[in-house]
């Protein structure tokens, strides 16, 4: 991918992120009250968006052809199980990734 496109994209992401962080201070810095729907959305959106991101990450999985999404299932299962059990973010991510890498490289590498 060319550098100009990449640079522009990084800039866009940086600017939108900064805007989101700064907007409340610019708009509601005085005594004005935050609109109820903004408060509602900023409370509810994170749950839905993380759900969306999980689907986004797994969007390329082909369930109908070999290996039938088994590496993803193994990886996801490992992360969920470990996290419910130990509740250690870094451990869940690290082991889940290792399980996935081993399964795509050695187990289902046909």
């Amino acid at each position: 991918m060319n550098n100009l496109y990449s640079g522009l994209m990084v800039a866009v992401i940086a600017i939108v992120t900064l805007l989101l962080r700064a907007l409340p201070f610019l708009f509601f810095g005085g005594k004005k009250k935050t609109p109820a729907f903004v408060q509602y959305l900023s409370k509810m959106l994170p749950y839905a968006i993380i759900g969306m991101l999980v689907v986004y990450c797994l969007r390329g999985v082909k369930v109908w052809s070999a290996p039938y999404g088994l590496p993803e299932l193994l990886g996801t299962g490992t992360v969920v199980f470990l996290h419910l059990w130990k509740r250690n973010t870094l451990l869940s991510i690290a082991l889940g990734t290792v399980v996935y890498m081993v399964s795509v490289q050695f187990v289902f590498s046909i």
Binding site: I13, R21, L23, I49, G51, L53, V54, V79, I93, G96
Partner: protein, 234 residues
Amino acid sequence: MNIRYAFKRSLPVMAGYLVLGMGFGILLEANGYGVWWAFCMSLFIYAGSMQYVAVDLLTGGASLLAAALMTLMVNARHLFYGISMIDRYKDTGAKKPYLIFALTDETYSLVCSGEVPEGVDKNRYFFLVSLLNQSYWIAGSVAGAFIGSLLTFNTSGIEFSMTALFIVVFVEQWKGTSNHLSSLIGVAASLVCLSIFGAERFLIPSMLAITTALMVLRKIPCTKQAEKGGDADE
């Protein structure tokens, strides 16, 4: 006194940022973007999960509009952090712009909790914690990209670290509240849009569907209590 206190409070964040930052750096490097990209992204964007998503957007050749919308959705929670920090950051003077820029989930959790002990200047504490946290994040991601360039073993499958990160956050959120409606809407709406629009263009429809569904639900009384269900953290 100020620095020692800020450093001590930031230690838990240091562990997390170094490791997650390294994961980001390795992933970025595996996709052909080197140390400088890792440094610039962590310096200018400085938003953990969004940077993981950015790797995907960059390599997938997403449009700038799609990237802007994605950022809007993924980082919308920052509006909420900002709203709750307006009073606390009111008299921070020249440090204010940086404090606002550096208000990540983890920094928010450090600056919004509790009072500082006697003898510690509040504003300096806010500033130092913000600065320390970002340096951990930059150090982690640069180190990751550097390590990634030295790795000689097969890194295929390393991209699952991003999936794993979001699954962990999903589980955390699920356990943190008794109302799972919003989580379910996110998954369901995305799956429906994925099957209709396909893997390459389902994101924007999903975001619209989610926002619409949430706004419609807001009118239904039984979801009112969901608004009170714990804070979502990243």
